[in-house]
């Protein structure tokens, strides 16, 4: 399973739609297009810089904190 697919699974765990995740990522300063985010979540992560993936992970982790779950998705080293 790719990092993107794992992230998509985490997204489902915290009940975020892909649309919600995209807007949270954009609000944190993410610069990828919506279609590119979709591709990443579908398992095609070739074009993604680790720093951009970490912005998406941050969006999911903030959602974990909001709903009171002490689980974090691991960040990518770069």
């Amino acid at each position: 399973m790719t990092a993107g697919e794992l992230l998509d699974r985490a997204r489902l765990n915290v009940h975020l739609s892909r649309d919600d995740l995209y807007w949270r990522y954009f609000a944190l300063g993410g610069s990828a297009r919506r279609s590119s985010v979709e591709k990443l979540l579908d398992g095609h992560s070739d074009a993604w810089k680790p720093a951009e993936v970490n912005i998406l992970i941050q969006a999911v982790n903030e959602r974990y904190a909001e709903i009171g779950k002490r689980v974090l998705v691991a960040y990518v080293n770069h």
């Binding site: 807007w23 954009f26 609000a27 944190l28 300063g29 970490n54 982790n61 903030e62 904190a65």
Partner: protein, 309 residues
């Protein structure tokens, strides 16, 4: 003096409309004239009979003679009334306001309706956001607790419920509760745009204190109302979604702006890259158990603690 070609002149003598009389000239006897007048009157009477027959064909209701002028007036009044309703519904703005106006209008335009409510489905949950009388709310909620009844059925299937013979037998428990609440009959009409896929938007529920309180005309009026209401509801919902999207976009832009400023400050202060600045904010966010945007905001305001996270 100029004259208009073909116009009668004062010396032309009397103008005679009937060609037979005109052709007869002055040689006719009094009896001849009376016979011609009688023939003319017979033709007029025949024309009147033919017009009456045509009128009956136009009205076309089991051969009954209906005053066409009265029917036209009624149709005009209904059309005007629904034109006003359409304007009113579109002016309502928010979805709840549209719904509130729908129940008010249902109470007025559907003759048998004593009280009205709207059923909505959000996720798996039915609710009555608007109603004209608490009894309407009460009997709606009985349906939601038992998961059956005419309003739920109308919403889910997109068809009218409550007026077919034997409807009480279909939901005996609910019908008994409705009667306890003083309601004798129900007309539940789906909020549905004609000739489109049924979207399960909701249902307009109309209740009458009388048994069999709704006529066919009531049902037809309710269907026209529900079509108007469905269009207004869809427009209101789209408007709300658009407003939500704009709000989300503005909030996201504002968040990006403050995070960008904070990253810029860290990059300048510590001679680091943009990605490293983001990582520093991220670590601070985790350490302080705060959202990254709030950490950035504090940093920009000068109250944040951030050296290297």
């Amino acid at each position: 003096m100029s004259t208009i070609e073909g116009a009668p002149r004062p010396d032309d003598g009397p103008i005679v409309a009937d060609s037979n009389l005109a052709d007869a000239g002055t040689d006719l006897t009094l009896a001849d004239r009376e016979a011609l007048i009688e023939a003319r009157e017979m033709r007029a009477a025949q024309r009147e009979i033919e017009l009456d027959e045509r009128e009956r064909q136009l009205v076309g209701e089991r051969g009954n003679t209906i005053d066409l002028t009265e029917a036209e007036d009624d149709a005009r009044a209904i059309a005007t009334s629904f034109a006003d309703i359409a304007v009113d519904l579109f002016a309502a703005g928010e979805l709840t306001e549209v719904m509130r106006r729908i129940v008010e209008v249902a109470n007025v335009v559907v003759a048998g309706c004593d009280m009205a409510s709207v059923t909505l489905l959000e996720g798996e949950k039915f609710s009555t956001p608007v109603y004209t009388h608490t009894n309407a709310l009460r009997v709606d909620e009985v349906q939601y607790s038992t998961d059956e009844g005419p309003c739920i059925e109308a919403l889910l299937t997109g068809t009218v419920h409550g007026t077919a013979p034997g409807w009480r037998a279909q939901w005996p428990e609910w019908a008994a509760k409705a009667e306890e609440a003083g309601l004798g009959s129900v007309l539940a009409v789906p909020l549905r745009i004609p000739n489109t896929t049924h979207l399960r938007l909701g249902a307009v529920n109309m209740y009458s204190r009388s048994k069999d309180g709704f006529t066919e005309t009531d049902q037809e009026t309710a269907l026209i109302l529900s079509a108007h209401a469905a269009i207004a509801a869809v427009v209101a919902r789209e408007r709300m979604e658009k407003d939500d999207q704009e709000r989300t976009f503005q909030e996201a832009l504002s968040s990006r702006d403050v995070i960008g400023q904070a990253k810029g400050m860290l990059m300048e202060r510590h001679r680091i890259s943009a990605d490293e600045a983001f990582d520093a904010l991220r670590r601070s966010s985790q350490g302080l158990n705060s959202k990254l945007r709030d950490v950035a905001h504090d940093l920009v305001r000068g109250t944040g603690v951030s050296q290297d996270g």
